[in-house]
Symmetry: C2
Subunit: 268 residues, 2 copies
């Protein structure tokens, strides 16, 4: 559920229901990336179709987004179909089309979650305080300016001596905005392709398929508010044009909010 | 591509094309799990629909499977739709239905892969030789007997003293069968829910959504042949009925073949 504000994020993911299972949206230049909008924002928009759907049950547990073609500036349509609704779970198919062509496909799983035994295995890595770190000042992509990113390590900077699979940073929406499932979805795609920081040189590259696992329950999100999140991303293997990424996002108090995985293309 | 043999796996994933984008299959008791068939075999069957499709382009790079309802014994239908085909990539939607109801949904991404710069970041963990370890002898589930599993650590055994998030084992099809994308897909789901080894007591639990990232190119598969694979799985957080799992499968020579992630339900 997104709070109706005038934040750029809320405008970007805004949808109008036009018919049963159909939503209309619009892509402008606000979150533009290299080719089309920042993938995290497309993912958040697709999730929002399920969040806004009158038949929606529970909260997001997982979301998979396949970036099939570049979303162009202008209008798009999302078809959001609840494929199956059980007593406390719901499976979604989400298709974003422009001019009748599927540009992005997604599946999502929602559930009514209950109190259970809980334990966190992935400990939050140590990091300097946010205010000891400079904000990344970069303007290559429009979407950068809507996040406050403070890299601790593994920033992509062509020519940089540190070549690494892993990146660690503090990040939040700019201006600050209370965290919800849509904002968390977008931030889950905040990391540059791993090949960038590993080789510290530019190559055509981009996310193809991304899956988020939402650990955060509503009270986790509310407790986080508009604070910074700590994000860490690594890779397992780069091979024949594709590399995976495994990432985690923690609240400042150390609570793990999201596990995110993806596969990204790289040219050579 | 699956080799036509009389191996139980090939029978389980066998499909007949019945109409454009439509395949018929059959679920019997061979790979039966607690409720319905072993999820890995359902995933392999869905992937097989894309592999067998006349419009298929390239090899699997990623596969996401959503277990929406229990597949029952008997016939099923898979609708395999190439949602978008680009020059060297292809996005699939795969829906498995029984009696008109969606039981499993999936998306897959295929690509023609080329030689590129390659590097493996996830090192294969040290493990004793296969023949120094006993084969797991368990009969609770029909599908167990079709795998030779040799646990090094983290086996689920109610009452066991070792409570751990992580499991490490050698595994291969039984009887041995040359590795292909379908067999690798099934093995990617070989691990018991993390909550089992963490608490060493039974609770209703099961995979809901699973995503595989295939690092293996065809030559990796061929080199592996019918050898054992080393599999490692861990968790990041168990919270409010759901826990994630991140797993890796390596060939015996240390080559990473698969990164697999999933979210599993647990009752309390």
């Amino acid at each position: 559920m997104t709070t109706p504000t005038s934040h750029a994020l809320d405008q970007a993911i805004s949808l109008q229901m036009t018919a049963p299972n159909r939503f209309g949206g619009h892509c402008d230049e606000t979150y533009l990336n290299m080719v089309g909008p920042f993938g995290g924002m497309t993912a958040a928009t697709l999730l929002n179709a399920a969040l806004l759907h009158p038949e929606r049950l529970g909260d997001p547990v997982s979301l998979t987004v396949n970036f099939a073609g570049p979303v162009g500036l202008g209008d798009f349509e999302i078809e959001a179909t609840p494929l199956r609704t059980n007593r406390s779970t719901q499976h979604w198919l989400l298709l974003l089309r422009q001019n009748g062509e599927v540009m992005t496909s997604a599946t999502a799983f929602f559930a009514s979650r209950r109190e259970t035994w809980s334990e966190q295995a992935a400990e939050c890595p140590p990091a300097p305080a946010v205010d000891e770190l400079p904000r990344m000042e970069r303007n290559e992509r429009a979407w950068f300016r809507h996040y406050d990113m403070r890299y601790i390590s593994g920033m992509f900077k062509p020519g940089e001596a540190e070549e690494t699979h892993d990146s660690l940073l503090w990040v939040r929406d700019e201006p600050p905005r209370p965290l919800d499932f849509a904002a968390l979805t977008a931030i889950g795609d905040i990391f540059a392709p791993r090949i960038f920081s590993r080789r510290q040189r530019f190559t055509p590259a981009g996310t193809v398929c991304m899956t988020h696992y939402f650990h955060a329950s509503l009270d986790d999100l509310q407790r986080t508010g508009s604070d910074f999140l700590l994000g860490q991303a690594g890779a397992s293997r780069y091979h024949h044009n594709y590399a995976d990424q495994i990432a985690h996002l923690w609240a400042a108090d150390g609570t793990l909010l999201l596990t995110s995985t993806q596969v990204a293309y790289f040219k050579e």
